[in-house]
Symmetry: C2
């Protein structure tokens, strides 16, 4: 309970920072959409991880606030541009920028968000600022590479489980690692603490993404907030699909291949595909991987000094695992 309260407090601090970051400014064609994006909410997982990582090595969370906000703004930049490329009409229940305005506005707003992300980050006071900015930048590079792979996979017919793992490591995992690494540097962590938090971030980042794939299949539709089975209908090459394909034989394999090749399935087929996922053991295998990653993540936390921040990181890790949304 006290952890949840602290999490909501940190989340609020980040929300307030983002609200104050963009004041009424011209040109309106950029700053109105930017305020709209930054007011869009979200779980603020990455910035909270920056702050907790900083605390876990002995720093004060306030010292990490600029960087935390920078990472959240960066995350929002990727959402705005990905939504254009994915032709997504809405996000978190609100119209996307290129839908509410137009694609040109969304391109420019994304660019400006990326610049604003650096602006926030570079307010950080730290003797390690150059390393921090380098880590942040490698994060941006990998996020772009991950999105590049993701788009390539849409039309590729020989995507493997390994390809998928590489893609999510870059597209979603890397920014979690960047968050914990930067937090560790700002907090003045030792090389050992830095490594532990870096590894922690890598495992948590992957678990989080695989969990996301699972939730598309097993989540409660009302709580999840988006249509369950959406990945199947879209024909997304998720870990589940690729793992099930690797395992399936006969008729099951034919069904999965048709989704794989024809880019998707009819809504009526979702239940059948879900049964194949169960039957082939793909769901169990994914769950096993998530649990393994969570165990490894916790193992890394064990290497840190026992502090309230570390205890909170344990809780945070569990929360991410048990979310049903």
């Amino acid at each position: 309970m006290k952890f949840e309260k602290k999490y909501l407090r940190y989340k609020e601090v980040v929300d307030d920072y983002l609200q104050g970051f963009i004041v009424e400014k011209k040109p309106h064609s950029i700053y109105r959409p930017i305020r709209y994006v930054l007011a869009g909410g979200g779980k603020r997982i990455r910035p909270v991880l920056v702050m907790l990582s900083c605390e876990a090595v002995g720093g004060h969370w306030k010292d990490a606030l600029h960087a935390a906000a920078g990472i959240e703004i960066l995350h929002n930049f990727t959402l705005v541009h990905d939504d254009i490329m994915d032709n997504a009409a809405s996000r978190r229940g609100r119209a996307t920028i290129h839908t509410k305005w137009d694609p040109n506005v969304a391109i420019l707003v994304g660019d400006e968000l990326l610049a604003c992300a650096y602006r926030a980050l570079l307010k950080t006071r730290s003797s390690r600022i150059q390393d921090i900015a380098k880590i942040f930048t490698e994060g941006v590079v990998e996020v772009c590479e991950g999105q590049g792979y993701d788009k390539e996979f849409e039309t590729s017919l020989d995507v493997t489980v390994q390809d998928y793992l590489l893609m999510i490591r870059k597209k979603t995992g890397k920014m979690v690692t960047v968050a914990t690494e930067i937090g560790a540097l700002i907090g003045g962590g030792t090389p050992g603490e830095f490594r532990a938090l870096s590894n922690y971030g890598r495992h948590v980042g992957r678990a989080f993404q695989l969990q996301d794939d699972l939730l598309d299949i097993v989540a409660d539709e009302k709580e999840f907030g988006k249509t369950v089975g959406g990945d199947i209908v879209e024909g997304k090459k998720t870990f589940l699909l690729l793992e099930a394909l690797r395992r399936a034989r006969g008729k099951d394999r034919q069904l999965l291949l048709s989704i794989f090749r024809k880019k998707g399935a009819a809504k009526e087929n979702v239940d059948e595909v879900r049964r194949v996922y169960h039957r082939t053991g793909a769901i169990q295998a994914t769950l096993r991987r998530v649990k393994q990653d969570i165990a490894r993540a916790k193992n890394e936390l064990e290497k840190l000094r026992p502090t309230p921040a570390r205890a909170m990181l344990f809780w945070f890790t569990e929360m991410l695992l048990h979310r049903t949304y």
Copy 2:
């Protein structure tokens, strides 16, 4: 002559850096277009200004090479994204990225270029690296704001000469200032030298853009490499159009207003508009401003110690003024 040789040498060093910067890498969907962009040539004015500014305050140009390349990569990022927004099919005689590939690729390639720009910049060894990265970032913010104004002006009916000057200061001028300022910091310039080079950049940047507007009207078509009068046909709200509109009366004013309001003119009308530009004194006024800016730029150079680099900056300033391409 020795200056031209030195300029070509520096340009080659930058070209080589950019060629070596992106090796064969995956995903191909990003890195192939990136190599295509960076091999696209150009005058490399901004990076050469970084190197010369560094030298002019006593530094070695090699110390500024990473930052110089960073600014050139950043410039190329803006071109790739602007070309999408402007629906431009070609640049420097080659197909643009969104034409040769597609808009999604161009968005992602631009994003990755921006990250690569920071990657190059952050290799710089300087005790002032945080200030350097901040200046660079404010440059990105202003370039986006400038592009935002530029797009707003396309459909706005009350754009003034002052609005236009604000727009070009942000969209094209700022990056020239960023180049000279960063060069001055890397070279270890005094606050006075930094100010002089910053002011120099501001004046040169504006002169360069106004000169560009003029060249659209008076340049030799073969040397210029693009259709003369293109701005008039497109109905671009250039300094010339806005200044002529401010001055014109009667029939001349009606002609300009029709271009202004209806977004452009027929190719047959270009000569008539050019005559109005002459008749109203708009061309002379623009030329006067260019000369005034060049004089002010040189005046700032006078404040620096007399070095070969300063002499070369004088030459460089003249070269920019007298180019017919």
